[in-house]
Amino acid sequence: RTRRGRAMATISSDAFVNMMLHSCKHPHRSVNGVLLGSVSEDGGVEVSEAVPLFHGILGLAPMMEVALNQVEGYCASVNSAVVGYYCANERRADTELTHLARKVGERIHARVPSALLIVLEASPASTASSSLPLKAFSLSGSVWQQRDPSSVKVDDEAGARAALEACLTAAAQYELCDFDDHLDDGARVWIGQKPAQLSGRSS
C-alpha cells in the first residue's frame, strides 16, 4: 500500500536493458523512445516494455507522429498502454528535460495522468553503482518534477544489470532496431524486442 504521492514506478528488467542498449548503441547521439505498460489505481506505473524510436535528430514531427500512432495501435491490440517516454541527451551529463520531452510527455499525460518521463544518464561503468543511471519525472500541475529516486525501481535490478553487461559484452546493442532503423529497412521489427533475442543474434 503506498501513500498518495509516493506511488511507485516500476520498470521491468527488459525495459531497463532495452533503454540502456539504445543509449549505448548511439553513445554520441541523443536517443528517445516510449515506455509501455500499465497503471495501478494508486497512481503507480508499471513499465513492461521500452520501444526505441529515434537517434540523432529527435525533434521532427511527422515521423514521431507515425511512430506514436503505430505504438498506440499496437498497445490497443495487446491490452497495454503508452505510459511514458525516455530519452538521453547528446551530452549524457546533461540530464535536463528538453522541450521535445515535455511535449511528448504532455501528450502521454493527457491519457495517463501518472505518465513517466525518464532521462538516461551515462551507462553504468560498473555494476557496483548504487543508484539507477536515470532521472524520472512526473507532471505535478504544469511542472515536470523529478521523482524521488526511491520511488523508481527496476524489477530484479541485479539481474537487469547483469543482463545489460552480458549484452554489451556481446555487442548486442547493434542488433537493437529503433523506428529510425525501421524506416531505413522496412523488414526490421522495432516493437517487442527482447534483450535475450538480441544477444542470441549477435553471438
Binding site: G59, L60, P62, Q70, G73, T98, V189
Partner: protein, 277 residues
C-alpha cells in the same frame, strides 16, 4: 581486416569496437606486407580515434606515441593530441592546442571543426553555433558543417534556422533523399503553409527512391494535414483541386507502404491500425 576498415570508412559508420578489433594489429606491425606505410599510419590514426571513443586510454596513448615518433611536430598529430585531452575532459588544454594550430594555420578546416565539437562537448551550444556560423561564412561549401548546424538548431527546436541550413545543404547536394526528407520533416514541423512545401520535398525524395519509407509516410502525413486544415477553413476552389491531388498522393503512398510490408505481418498490421485512426 582491411576490407572491414575500408567499409566502415566508406560508409562513415561509427563502430569503434570493430575499428579497434581489426585495426589494432596494424599498430603492432602485423600485416606489414599487406599495407603501405601511409595506409598503416592512416589506420593507426583511426584506431587512435576509436580507442578514445571506447575509453581505451592506453591503446590511444600507444597510437599517438607511434604517430608522434614518425611525424614529430605535425599539426595533424597535434590535433590528435588535443582530441586525447578532450576525451580526458581537459578542455582548456585541448582548446589551447587547437588555438595554437589555428594561429599558425588560420585556414585549417579540420581544427576549426574540432573547436566546434569541443564547445559542444563542454555544453557551450551558443559558442558552438557562433563558431560554426563563423566557419560557414568562410566555407559555405562544406556540407558536413551545414548538416551539423541543422542538427544543433533542430535539437534546440529552432526549426526555421534548421530549415535554412537544410536549404543550403540541398544547394550543395541536391539529390540526396536523406537531406530532402529531413528538410521536408523540418517544414512539416514548422506547420501551416510549410506543410504544402514539405509535401513537395517528400515527393522529390520519392522520385529518387520510390520505396523510401520516410518519404511515403511523410507524403501521407502531409496530405492528411493539408486536407484537415482545408476542411477547417472551408477553402476555395483551389483547395478543392488540391484535395483531389492529396487523395491521389495519399492513395499512392498507402499502396506503396502496403507493398513494402508484404510478407511482414507484424509491421503490416501496425500500418493498418495506424490508417484506421
Amino acid at each position: 581486416a582491411l576490407k572491414v576498415l575500408k567499409a566502415l570508412r566508406a560508409g562513415r559508420v561509427r563502430r569503434p569496437d570493430l575499428v579497434v578489433a581489426h585495426g589494432a594489429p596494424f599498430l603492432e606491425g602485423r600485416h606489414a606486407s599487406s599495407v603501405g606505410a601511409a595506409e598503416r599510419y592512416a589506420i593507426i590514426e583511426e584506431v587512435f580515434v576509436a580507442a578514445l571513443d571506447r575509453g581505451e586510454a592506453e591503446l590511444a596513448r600507444r597510437c599517438l606515441a607511434t604517430l608522434n615518433a614518425r611525424f614529430p611536430g605535425s599539426k595533424r598529430v597535434r590535433s590528435l593530441a588535443a582530441m586525447a585531452d578532450e576525451a580526458a575532459g581537459n578542455f582548456e588544454a585541448a582548446m589551447g592546442k587547437y588555438d595554437s594550430i589555428i594561429e599558425e594555420d588560420p585556414a585549417n578546416m579540420h581544427v576549426h571543426k574540432r573547436r566546434v565539437a569541443l564547445l559542444l562537448s563542454k555544453g557551450d551550444t551558443a559558442g558552438a553555433v557562433a563558431a560554426l556560423n563563423d566557419y560557414l561564412a568562410l566555407n559555405a561549401g562544406d556540407p558536413d558543417a551545414w548538416l551539423e548546424l541543422a542538427r544543433i538548431y533542430t535539437a534546440g527546436a529552432q526549426y526555421r534556422r534548421a530549415a535554412f541550413c537544410w536549404e543550403e545543404l540541398l544547394l550543395l547536394v541536391p539529390s540526396n533523399p536523406v537531406f530532402l526528407c529531413k528538410y521536408a520533416e523540418t517544414l512539416y514541423t514548422l506547420g501551416g503553409p510549410e506543410v504544402k512545401t514539405a509535401r513537395k520535398y517528400f515527393a522529390k525524395a520519392l522520385a529518387l527512391q520510390p520505396d523510401n519509407l520516410r518519404a511515403l509516410y511523410g507524403l501521407h502525413a502531409c496530405c492528411q494535414a493539408v486536407v484537415g486544415s482545408a476542411a477547417r477553413t472551408k477553402g476555395q476552389r483551389t483547395d478543392r483541386d488540391d484535395a483531389a491531388l492529396c487523395a491521389d498522393l495519399s492513395e499512392h503512398a498507402v499502396a506503396r507502404l502496403r507493398a513494402a510490408y508484404k510478407g511482414n505481418d507484424f509491421n503490416a498490421r501496425l500500418l493498418e491500425r495506424m490508417l484506421e485512426l
